[in-house]
Amino acid sequence: MPAPQPPAVEIADLSFRYSGAEQFALEGVALSVNQGERLGILGPNGGGKSTLLKIILGLVTGYQGTVKVMGLPPTQARRTGLIGYVPQRAEVETGMPVSVRTLAGLAASWKLNPLLPVPARVRTNVQRVLDLVGASAFADKPIGALSGGQLQRAMIARALACEPKILILDEPTVGIDAPGQAKFAELLTTLHRELKITILTVSHDLRAIAAGSDRVACLARRLHFHDSPNGLTPAVLSELFSHELVGMHVHVHSSSEPCPLDHPAGASTTSVQLGISASRTTKPADAEGGGA
């Protein structure tokens, strides 16, 4: 990659505390994402992922340290349309009677002159991204009639219709079944290949991150790890998920064999291809540490 290109996202010594909060939500975070790279940000709930996302999107200001998006301050980058954001699906009002095509055009069309119809250029572009994400078959369906995976594609199309340089996905796999997740990983790979776009995926789910990332950053208030997914050792995961969290423990075993540890009744277990399983328990003894 030629030297003068600024990194897609560059964060140095970032700390942030919500007003009135005693603890920092983010502390001393340094992170660099090259253009065209796929970075997964993995972390437990409450680990500062959403805050980091809001800072990159320019929605939260008043932080210490420096944050640059394509060499610009985040608020400016957002206004310039450099970022395509795919929020969690639950936030969409699916009761709104609009089609996938309309949804996909929302972000690209709100700035247009209201006295004129949407120009052909924008319409063609929306059709192009609908094709690209594989949503043209259901483009005229109302959004209330879609499956989770279909709605996700529609939202990715909406982000891509703005021709962003960076695509940011917030918890993309929540509520999507295993076959759906495999398809989703495939889609991201295709988008990355076709558009050479930088992709940032934020999730608490190891599977979402491991599926399509060149590098992984593990975030629990501080940045714990920042490298290729193959380097995600049990020690790192264990440190990450036990950090100020209620009874979360992580250990490694082969994905074919049963877990050697006794999980308390009611614990939810997540196993991934890496052979790592993270289980979350609600044992009172473990709960003492997390005072949220």
Binding site: R79, V86, V92, L103, A107, I143, G144
Partner: protein, 319 residues
């Protein structure tokens, strides 16, 4: 049918046509907004704004008697309308600022309820104050009967009322037309809209202000208690019937217009108040729309029921 007789007689036509035109203007405005209100679950905001009109009416009465009750500041005057609209818009802005603090000290519906009861209480005291000032000054206190405030007096509408309803309605709809693309984004997916640079605060405030204006105009037709019905029922029924935005908007308008025409017909026929007739007809339409197999997420009826119940109890208790 009495309504036909009324319309065919020159004298009575002049009585029934202005309310009809005013009613149609109001209902078209409310029908379009009601779709957004239902999807965005803002029914309670409509209730809150409508009830805060009490404060505006009280304020207008006090100003009027302080000025020794000039003719231009009486009840039903443009002056009163302006004061009430201004008061309601301010309340709506207050509610919008509360609604912004997501996860803050005050929950959104608590904030709305707070504005609602505070301005109603203020209105009750101000109306009483106006009465006392008037009797001290020895001038007649032109206080409006509570019943017409609560349930409206559309049948008394004059041509100037109709003109006011039509022009305010057109202005609100024109504003909505100019903001339509951003508003669609805001209503469909607020948090994403913000991330894509949409000035969410501006759109939220604009929607609240438009809603406040529509509520005040609707209040003249159906009164405080029932005005928010116009801002919920047409949209709620239309959303049950279609999932195409254009069709939903059109259906909401058609149902609204039918509701006003049928409601007025019933009102004239049986010599009863028009506002409640219109609202009951619209409620019947909504009931009929439920007969269609459900395809839309069940947000519409829930929002309606919740706001209706909350609004009613708070509306009646101060009396």
């Amino acid at each position: 049918m009495k309504i036909i007789e009324w319309l065919s007689d020159e004298m009575t036509r002049q009585l029934i046509l202005p309310p009809m035109v005013a009613g149609l203007g109001v209902v078209l405005l409310c029908a379009v907004l009601s779709v957004l209100v239902v999807v965005k679950r803002m029914a309670f905001v409509g209730q809150g704004v409508a009830h805060s009109a009490f404060g505006g009416i009280g304020l207008a009465s006090v100003i009027s008697v302080l000025l020794s009750a000039p003719a231009w500041a009486g009840h039903g005057s443009v002056f009163e309308l302006v004061v009430v609209v201004a008061f309601c818009v301010l309340t709506a802005l207050g509610m919008a600022s509360v609604a912004e603090r997501r996860g803050g000290a005050v929950q959104v519906d608590t904030g709305i309820g707070l504005f609602l009861v505070a301005s109603m209480a203020l209105g009750a005291l101000l109306v009483e104050a106006a009465r006392q000032i008037a009797s001290a000054k020895g001038i007649p206190a032109a206080t409006q009967p509570w019943e017409s405030l609560l349930f409206g007096s559309i049948l008394n509408a004059s041509w100037s009322d109709a003109l006011a309803a039509l022009s305010i309605g057109s202005l609100v709809l024109l504003t909505l037309f100019l903001l339509r693309r951003g508003m669609l984004f805001y209503v469909t997916d607020e948090s994403a809209a913000e991330a894509f640079g949409l000035p969410v605060k501006l759109y939220r405030t604009a929607l609240m202000v438009l809603l406040a204006i529509a509520t005040v105009v609707a209040m003249r037709l159906t009164g405080v208690v029932l005005s928010s019905a116009l801002l919920v029922l047409p949209g709620a029924a239309a959303l049950k019937l279609s999932r195409r935005l254009g069709v939903v908007m059109l259906l909401a308008c058609v149902l609204g217009v039918l509701g006003v025409l049928l409601g007025l017909t019933l009102s004239v026929q049986f010599n009863v108040q028009a506002g409640p007739c219109v609202v009951l007809v619209l409620t019947a339409f909504f009931g009929l729309s439920l007969l269609k197999p459900a395809r839309i997420a069940p947000t519409a009826p829930t929002a309606l029921a919740a706001s209706g119940a909350a609004g009613e109890s708070q509306a009646i208790s101060p009396r």
